[in-house]
Amino acid sequence: MQSLGIRVLFNVKNIRRLLEGLMVTARIAFISILIGSLLGVVLGVIWTAKRKWIRSICRIYLEMFRIIPIFVWLFVMYFGGTTALNVDLSGETVSIIVFTLWGTAEMGDIVRGALKSLPQHQVESGKAIGLGFWELYRYILIPQAVRRMLPGAINLATRMIKTTSLVVLIGVIDVIKVGQQIIEYSRIEIPTASFWVYGFVFILYFAVCYPLSKLSRMLENKWNR
């Protein structure tokens, strides 16, 4: 009865559980994107510092996430971090920590790039009319930089959302795990369940990420031309 495999998705209970799993994924993504972008702005401002060692530290921090895969970081934190610090962290907490640290690094790079791309005379004019550091950033630099960094930031958000799929591998009950559970218990009745459930999750991720990347491209075309 291959053609009826899709009925696994018409089961209200299954759909409700999948959406519950999606909420866990969404929570991890939302919290880490939010905190990551706020800290990222701070990092980006620090990154424009004149002192070379400050910039080097920022750079090394970013490269750590660029060179070591995020999945490895999840592993290191989940198995190593908890043992080393002798704390008991849930997979969800570990994921949020890792994604936040990663998001901060990438966002910092985006903000730095945006700030750097602003003409130098903006800073100098600001200083000339007597603005302090805080006012300079608050009224002159950040508002202008936002336009240049928003497309990149949205792209980063979609990347982070896509990467949240990895949390299942350190034991978080996310949308994929729920999908696996549904596949497991309907194995006898609906042998093709895995096709439909994974297909459904595939479409779920697409439905979230596609509008975001469209938006990012739209903003890029609108502002950068």
Partner: protein, 225 residues
């Protein structure tokens, strides 16, 4: 925290084999990604009718869904429809499916960077089509495209960390087994991070160097980074 060096020494062969698998999968993945990317960009650049729309759909699907789901779908989903693939084949298909669209984007950014006036000037001094491609378009497209192509290679190599989820005996699986069987958490994680550093750090440094070289060759080198 004291590392058990004897254990690390004993586990070296395991990591060597796993790293070898990762490199092999990464190599084929990158190769096929380049091929797929090339097909995509040719279809788009020359506006091949039907193929162009297929490519468009493919790029959106591949860019907006996580590799993990793509792999699960290939490995567990398609099996149920009678298409059984080995885990290594699945991993390579998954990586190519993901990487193809990224490579296409890299090629596109390179081609778009060649300005209209360059092509027209080339034609006006009487270059043939082949000469135009060989002496005007490719060198410029290459110098713009090379950094992102290289970045994609690193990205794909990093993404291979996920294939452990479909039973490929890769670095992540070896690490997980060692932690599970011997409780040598720090040693296993240390080796994991070390192997990834050894694989990707030189590549990353080489890429930075190459990027500087390629930029130098750019037309009207403005010295902007």
């Amino acid at each position: 925290m004291k590392l058990n060096w004897q254990f690390i020494l004993d586990s070296l062969p395991l990591y060597r084999d796993a790293a070898w698998i990762t490199l092999k999968l990464g190599f084929w993945g990158i190769l096929f990604s380049l091929a797929i990317g090339l097909i995509c960009i040719i279809a788009q650049y020359f506006r091949v009718k039907l193929l162009r729309s297929i490519v468009q759909v493919y790029i959106e699907l591949s860019r907006n869904t996580p590799l993990l789901i793509q792999l699960f779908f290939l490995y567990f989903g398609l099996t149920k429809l009678g298409i059984a693939l080995s885990e290594n084949t699945c991993a390579i298909i998954g990586l190519s499916f993901l990487g193809g669209s990224y490579m296409a984007e890299a090629f596109r950014s390179g081609l778009e960077a060649v300005s209209r006036s360059q092509i027209e000037s080339g034609l006006s001094i009487g270059l043939s089509r082949a000469q135009l491609v060989r002496y005007v378009i490719l060198p410029q497209a290459f110098s713009v495209g090379i950094p992102s192509i290289g970045a994609n290679c690193i990205f794909l190599l990093k993404e291979t960390s996920i294939v452990g989820a479909i039973a490929v005996v890769d670095l992540m699986n070896v690490t997980k087994d060692l932690i599970g069987m011997y409780y040598q958490t720090f040693e296993a994680l240390f080796m994991l991070v070390a192997v990834y550093l050894i694989m990707i750090l030189p590549l990353s440094i080489f890429l930075t160097w190459l990027e500087r070289k390629a930029r130098y060759a750019e037309f009207g080198n403005q010295g902007s980074v």
